[in-house]
Assembly symmetry: C2
């Protein structure tokens, strides 16, 4: 842990005291979002200290020209950059001619931030003495509306405490923004129109190259002791729209600025209608009012929590951690728009770029599938279906043909963004996670319709890829997959990564099964798909040859599958024997040293055991866990969760809990020393999995929901809800006994610790 | 072959006819150099067409900030760029107010270029009609003096043919130059002083960051029909120094501009003395005169050719090809300055950067060793000795210790420049070539003194590296070298590359031998070295363990050593079955496809068989050649020569000759479609090897010089000289019989086709 200034609280993230050193970390941690947009917790008033300004609109990106040292054929021409958008939050405050700026104030007292996760708002308050000795009390509440998702609202109250002052308040819009993350310092935005109308303002700007048209808008009203203050001036500058309220205030007068703002975007409106749409949103805001909007916000978040909350008794830091994870996931993605996905930093930073990684299928899908309506998970799957053509083109660039699909490592619009050959071209296991997600969706939701409608075509593209990517080794009389990078990115260009080979075989087998199933049950879909894909029996026979003769590296001595060919040739020294000064190895060692070492960045063979748990015995899991975990450095945010789940399955609760802490408070306690760059959004789903699948032991086995509940030593209990096939089960696990409760109208049987439990609607069954 | 406009001629490179499309190719092919500087064959007068301006000073470089997509620990901060230097060749010609510019002339007739390799000069002549209808005949001779290596000379003659004209002649210097190859468009040069004095001019400029101070200088004289023409004006501009001669000339008046120019550099003079040194050089040039300088040039080149020429009878293109290779090698490096080395493009372009690759030791050393005095080869070895400390630092950056040395992949000053992890960190076999060169030098020259004086320390650093780089595999009970790239760069991060493992073992064994030998015979050196390196017997024992238990991948089925672990798992389809549209694969395939294919860029296992020929039987060579050559795409300029030598050794003269043609006319016929970027200098040494070691079969076996002469079908014969242990042997091979002749005073025995032949000084022995 590298910081511990966040005050433990079950429902809020709280910071007390102003520390300029922490500003950028807190800007990340107190970020807010509503799925359609999000922003770092930048100050509304001017701040001349170190800050990382960030305001992001879902799906609005810039194709930044690729930067490499040495070009390789097949590299994408650009990297889709997450874009810092024009800012609408700014409110300049001038007191007796001096700007309010916490970096220059003589003193800042009672500084407090609170991110209220239960109700979805962020509040900041402080007392400050300016350079020119004006004492003020400030309190600001801000939220991005879930109900009206183009809208954000700010209530900024300021009270001079020691004397009468001349106040100037300047709410403004600013499109003169830049990205931190840029390859060539390109200009990303073009401002085309700055317009002020009464107490509203609009800046129209479009992204260069991608031509996303946006209107950033605001309105403001100012009152003094409840009485309206009039606008005294306004300005349309090149990249700013500014309203001005200049007036006198006495000591203890309360001035309240209510500012509404947000974005309308050509993704959702005709580009000629962006200002009109903005005006409509502002009118709606005006008619509902700040308190009304805040009330709706609380209601919307109550709905989200109703289903997704996890309670933990007896461990407030663990409670705060899990809620922070669930809250941020919901701020990032609500599943209402199938064109969107879950970026690794969400709306909290720019790093990594792109919005979609295999994290979505492998880590995020289970969270959304379990805590929301199945349409949300279906939207995540549809996203990939909509990108199938691009995935086929992507595979063609790499020499594949006949409709073979390779989904990109990183994408925003279906095209590959990433440019490291060992990742872009070789970390192909991502294709398997996408197929696995289809299987997992059906297994959990029971909704088969996705497969004949869309999923089967995705599965066929993927199966074709694996069939073509494998090659026959005369020497071993087996099919092999050479030159890959597995989930453990501390190995590059290896042969026969077990996880990849296993997934590849499974993808083909599963696709063959589904072809038969669709043929048998959905003949219209079947005809359409066969027409499209021109699948023949001969092709299927070729697939079968590959799947049934796939090679899996295995050690007889250790009775384990080998992560890849040659793994045993390494110097197999466990991580515990590494000197602490050498850690983390990705900061201390050169890349070749990492590659030839046995050290594992994140679950690789064990990722396969996680996906396909029911293919292996617990003894096999234990053997593999004991073989690989000692070499695992967990230097990926996605690593501890899988290991936590498996440690729990093996009954090693202490180890499971240690992994859980590492994943759940990764950002709050800044384990990776980088929280100022943004939060690790996708790994937050892994945290959720650690409790529900790890401690709670939730599994779907033979079509039934199963639980194997356990409880960490220092907890009193925990609870969570599961939406399984449109039935909601509330699970409460505590030291004094566990209970299961079902909503709905029909009874349902589940299994707890292998025993059949019949749940009747409404009844709480203690087990 | 992609071009064939070069007219075959045994001693000259000739182009006839003006074609703007060929200008940049010819600028490369007609490049001139004298080891200390060099320049592309840019026109002296203005040229507004497509041109690649290039003028280079040996050892003057700029550390260009590294550009990568994704940074890896251990990458160097900069890449030493070969720098385009201020130009001194410019001579503006204005005729009746119109610039002479071949790109805008109404007609250009009788355009001819000749690079006279025998005498070391470059001549260009043409008749042109300008836009304003002035007809002129121009003839320009230019050379860079070998005798005075800071000096170049130009005799530019121009004759108006159709009428009297007003002529303005403006010889100038220009430091407003840029690089084509730059990572960030940095400014590389700072001009500090522009000065004109009478008919001379000087521009002082220094490189940024590296602070190489240079003075670019010139003098000019103009005559009309032999009578001096006076300077009418001169200018000192920001980055130009210009002299002006304005006068009238009648039709058929002959105007001759004699321009001397060149560079004085702070590498060789105190920086305050650069202009003074330039003046001295100009004074020397003046007193010798153009014709006198040209005469000396012919003499110097006669001396070079006396020893290094190869004659070929009956195949003028082959003759032209080999001389072009020998000529360019000598233009690039003459071996008089141990701070310099042999850049892959010499003085003919900017690509690749750096000046030193393993090409020097593996390919160039044999050429210089055999055709020059041994001090030249010794200077090449000393270069690496001088960089030993940097090589140790380089290894430390990658986690090695205790004086282990890793020489850089690409360097200018001993520091690593290159930034691809798979090359920079993993193509470590380069270290072996450096040790091999020490062995090779002693074997050929018989000069052991280098080893106790310098070489042993290099060998120890290298042996320490291999000892640390190998790891013990419990599993196989052998030492292995994991995660490397061999000479075949179409495989990255492989385990147990046979060539690398073999070299590593050999390096340790050879170093141990030399330690013993120095201990026994050079006790003072031994004490100094032990004091330095703190070598202990225990350390040597550890080395021995690694060397004697090294693992070598081997296939029983094929009875061949495997290029690396897992080679047989590939889809082993020979190159001949590849569709032609797929070639060259490095332009047509994505990198992952290349990596998992069996295709070999250049000799890898066979490079080992080339170095260590005497460790293997001819049957073994044949088996390995027949196994690997069919997978070899020869997409490196360094590939055909090794295969030519081995095909010759196997008596496959047709194949050997095909490989020879590909290497010897690589640039003249532009096989790789890139000659406009510069020439492939280092591979030219490979061409020389193809004849001397391939067709001539020259070897050193048991301390004796051996020849196994063969002759390509279409040749009448060929001859070359060899400086073996300070004795010069002239070899003549012809269809009617071969002969060997020795200079000097003592007799010497050699072997021809295994038979002992005694050579008496001066006698020609027919064999």
């Amino acid at each position: 842990m590298n910081q511990d200034y966040i005050i433990p609280n079950p429902w809020s993230i709280i910071e007390e005291g102003f520390d300029a050193e922490r500003v950028q970390s807190s800007e990340s941690l107190f970020s807010i979002g509503n799925g359609a947009m999000g922003q770092r917790a930048n100050f509304e008033e001017d701040y001349s200290g170190e800050t990382f300004q960030g305001s992001y609109i879902a799906g609005v990106y810039y194709p930044d020209k690729t930067k490499v040292g040495w070009w390789k054929n097949g590299y994408p021409e650009y990297f889709a950059k997450v874009l810092n958008a024009p800012s609408w939050i700014g409110i300049g405050i001038t007191l007796d001619g001096e700007k309010l700026d916490l970096a220059t104030c003589k003193s800042v007292n009672d500084f407090k931030r609170e991110l209220n996760m239960k109700e979805g708002w962020y509040k900041r308050s402080f007392n400050a003495v300016t350079k020119n000795n004006v004492e003020v009390a400030v309190s600001v509440t801000r939220f991005l509306s879930i109900a009206l998702d183009e809208l954000g609202a700010i209530a900024y109250s300021i009270t001079p405490k020691n004397k009468a002052v001349a106040i100037k308040i300047t709410p403004y819009l600013d499109s003169g923004i830049t990205n931190r993350d840029t390859n060539w310092d390109d200009k990303f935005w073009e401002t085309t129109n700055v317009s002020v109308q009464d107490n509203t303002a609009f800046i129209e700007a479009h992204t260069l190259k991608t031509n996303f048209n946006t209107c950033t808008f605001m309105s403001s009203t100012v009152t003094k002791n409840g009485q309206p203050v009039s606008i005294t001036n306004s300005r349309e500058e090149e990249k700013q729209a500014v309203l001005e309220y200049e007036f006198e205030a006495n000591a203890n007068d309360t001035i309240l600025i209510t500012k509404y703002g947000g974005y309308t975007v050509s993704r959702n409106h005709d580009k000629s209608q962006l200002i009109a749409a903005a005006k409509q949103t502002l009118a709606a805001a005006d008619s509902i009012g700040f308190e009304g909007l805040l009330q709706r916000q609380k209601e919307e978040w109550a709905k989200i929590w109703e289903m997704s909350d996890i309670t933990i008794e007896g461990d407030v830091k663990a409670q705060q951690g899990i809620r922070f994870n669930i809250f941020q996931l919901n701020q990032t993605y609500l599943g209402t728009d199938s064109r969107l996905n879950i970026g690794p930093k969400g709306f909290t930073g720019e790093k990594y770029g792109g919005s979609t990684y295999w994290d979505t299928e492998a880590y995020c899908l289970p969270f959304y599938m379990t805590t929301k309506n199945e349409t949300v998970a279906r939207n995540l799957l549809k996203y990939r279906y909509d990108h199938l053509e691009k995935a086929i083109e992507n595979a063609e660039k790499l020499g594949f043909s006949n409709g073979a699909a390779l989904y990109p490592m990183v994408t925003m619009n279906g095209e590959e963004c990433h440019n490291e050959w060992e990742i872009t071209f070789e970390e192909i296991h991502r294709n398997g996670a996408i197929a696995f997600a289809i299987y997992n969706y059906y297994r959990f939701t029971g909704d088969y319709s996705y497969i004949p409608e869309m999923g089967l075509e995705v599965l066929i593209g993927i199966a074709r890829f694996w069939h073509q990517r494998a090659n026959y080794s005369t020497h071993k009389n087996k099919y092999m997959i050479l030159g890959v990078t597995g989930p453990n990115e501390y190995e590059n260009n290896v042969n026969n990564n077990w996880y990849t080979n296993y997934l590849a075989k499974w993808c083909i087998d599963y696709c063959l099964e589904q072809i038969q199933k669709v043929k048998d049950g959905y003949s219209e879909d079947y005809q359409r798909i066969i027409g499209h894909t021109k699948l023949t029996d001969a092709e299927l026979d070729d697939w079968k040859k590959v799947a049934s003769n796939m090679y899996f590296p295995y050690s007889e001595t250790h009775d384990v599958y080998l992560q890849q060919d040659g793994f045993l040739d390494k110097e197999l020294m466990p991580v515990t024997e590494l000197d602490k000064t050498e850690r983390p190895i990705n900061q201390k060692w050169s890349w070749d040293r990492i590659l030839r070492s046995p050290y594992i960045k994140q679950a690789d063979v064990l990722q396969g055991f996680y996906f396909f748990e029911d293919h292996f015995t617990t003894e096999q899991l234990e053997k593999h866990f004991d073989f690989y975990e000692p070499f695992t450095v967990h230097e990926s945010s996605l690593s501890p969760c899988v290991h936590s789940i498996q440690a729990a399955k093996l009954g090693r609760m202490e180890q499971a809990y240690t992994f859980y802490l590492r994943t759940s408070r990764l950002d709050l306690d800044d384990y990776n020393k980088e929280v100022e760059e943004g939060l690790h959004i996708t790994s937050m789903a892994g945290t959720w999995m650690s409790i529900v699948e790890g401690f709670g032991g939730m599994r779907v086995l033979e079509d039934k929901l199963n639980f194997f509940p356990q409880i960490p030593e220092n907890w009193e209990g925990y609870s969570f809800k599961v939406n399984f096939r449109n039935r909601i089960i509330t699970v409460k696990v505590s030291k004094t006994g566990s209970s299961y409760q079902l909503n709905g109208t029909e009874e349902m049987s589940i299994r707890v610790n292998g025993e059949r439990v019949v749940l009747k609607p409404g009844e709480t069954v203690a087990v």
